[in-house]
Symmetry: none
Subunit: 204 residues, 4 copies
DNA sequence: GATGAATGAGCCTTCATTCAT
DNA sequence: GATGAATGAAGGCTCATTCAT
């Protein structure tokens, strides 16, 4: 029992550190932020941090992993295929909405994933790139399904198209995280993306 | 005469340092790269660097400024308006091609502009963001023209649409810089973007 | 309790660093001395120094402030006025003796206050100059009292006379700190100063 | 002939550099001043300086040597002995006046001799100290003469008294150089010093 | 378990000096 | 003779990480 309580406490501490680190990394940037800044934000000794994370880099990893897992959920919750253009449109809307919601809830994550992670080291960048690639692969998969079923046009480079759609979604995500876009704006971002995708991809 | 020769030499040295810095910054990242690395790459003393640039940050600024100027040329060389959907399509193609060419010629610049610059400090990030915003404004302007002339649909958020187009172009640019895409791939990227834009925006 | 012990330790460390810095600054000079020299003298890492003082200059400031405070005590412990030439003579003796004792105990301080401080920057110099000025003002004040009470001659420039007395005391101080003067020498220095002052200032 | 002209030119250049160095060293301080600052002040290349002086330290040496020589003149022009208290008083006045004039003409020298020189290295400090000692020895010599001839009291430490007189003169010199004392002030400084010395030393 | 004192690798930057032109 | 480009020693300072308490 004590063990369980202890485990919960540990988990809580790890979580608290992560939250503080998100705040610190997103406001000062990974390189300018010090481990001591994170500890200060929590009112704990900075040595304590090292009892929960191997090092500064490890904290960032944890943030990133958690965020990427959250983002991965977006596609994993989707049915692997749709049966009509309208179905696909709705799926696209759900995915975009879901993705935007993550960053609307915690806009600081956008800076961490899209800016800081890209300049720490090869591994961090690869980690994000890999997620984006996987996301794009899902998208490509949806499109292949649409082509196979005939509701999307065949003469496209599915991979590239998927990457462009992904880029549009990510762009909207960044803008929503960065700016002060409200719910109506989010609807518009989705609407504009849908226009491009449906208009650009639909068969005939 | 001596003065002219000297000025040329100085310009050459500044250029050499910039090139070495591009290599070093893009391969190790701004933060991990030292001024000494740049000097070593050139086989000169690191003190010499400071005769040509105020400090490490100043070198990065120069790289960024040069690159953004090059990118700004892309839209500044374009006519401010087009008269038909086909004209617009061609303009879009030119812009995308031009932009991709810059990074195809020196792919290292992509990492510098899109990754490193975002994590150095507020100023560097703002500098890139501002360029992107201006670029998107040009795009928005082209679209307003199309709406006014009736060859683009009126029911769009011009600003958002412009930003999404910009995001697609930048995405293609990054991919071309990062990957080993050849001329054919570049054609395809353009083609896919055109499909999205024309399909998604055209009237009727 | 732990806190108190900690505070004591911190105070001790600050004191140790100050002592080492006095040694290093007085033997090599402020400019030639490195923070690493101070750390080496203590057998500690140089980074440790920065936990106790903001920077090299701050260490010097602390030494100087401490010394000037000690010197300020000399006059602040004196009664503001005396009633006879003999009283005044005795006061002068006390002041000179007190001042000389400070530097006899730690001769290295003389170099720091009178030589190094003068060449670090405007602020350090002003700091010493200000102290000297205040000291001279006290002296001038004592003299005005003597003139008012009639035991010192009226036809003098009190400010200048005070500055000259101060200069004599400081000169003796420097000589005592620099040389290997013993107790007897100190008595003589005092005696000679008294001769000048009493002989030069006494009324009638 | 060409040689003579050349020698004159060289001498002129050395002199110009010295003057510029006096300005630069006295305004920024020896350590903060760069060789380039001196060259800039003259509008010449900083490499040129090294054709006239071995190094930065050598320039300072030259300034100091020149100044000390000038100061040495003050006592060397004096008769080795005087025959009455009044003669001695007049000699003292001449010496003080002469010394003050040097620094009134070029107040920048005060900072160089009394402040900067003390913190460069052992040699520079020794150089100034040696001059002061020699100056004090002359003064002591004058006093021994006075004691021998009976117009100065015998019960004094001639060396210390001489050093105190020297200190007073140097103090007045510094004040005159630092402040904006006019001719009348200079007279007063002399007057106050005389009062101390004559009052403090005269026999009976 | 928590703490924060200690550490030193590492990096930017300055500037006196040299020397090829 | 004059120049200023090049150099690299030198040093101040930061901060991630360790570990004794």
């Amino acid at each position: 029992m004590a063990n369980i309580a202890s485990k919960e406490k540990i988990a809580q501490r790890r979580y608290d550190i992560l939250q503080a680190a998100i705040e610190v990394f997103s406001s000062k940037g990974y390189h300018s932020a010090g481990v001591a800044d994170i500890a200060n934000a929590l009112g704990i000794g900075h040595g304590t941090i090292y009892r929960y994370y191997k090092n500064k880099r490890d904290i960032f990893n944890a943030i990133l992993a958690e965020l990427l897992a959250q983002m991965a959920d977006v596609v994993q919750q989707e049915p692997p295929s749709t049966d009509s253009l309208d179905d696909y449109r709705q799926q696209l809307e759900r995915i975009a909405a879901h993705m935007m919601r993550i960053f609307q809830q915690d806009p600081r994550l956008a800076r961490i994933a899209f800016y800081e992670a890209m300049s720490i080291d090869e591994e961090a960048r690869a980690s994000v790139d890999h997620f984006i690639a996987v996301f794009a692969q899902f998208t490509a998969h949806y499109m292949k399904n649409g082509v196979d079923k005939g509701f999307l046009r065949a003469n496209m480079n599915q991979s590239m198209a998927a990457q462009l759609i992904t880029a549009m979604i990510m762009e909207a995500v960044k803008k929503i995280a960065t700016g002060k876009d409200n719910e109506a704006d989010i609807q518009q971002w989705k609407s504009e993306i849908i226009h491009f995708v449906i208009g650009g991809l639909s068969a005939g």
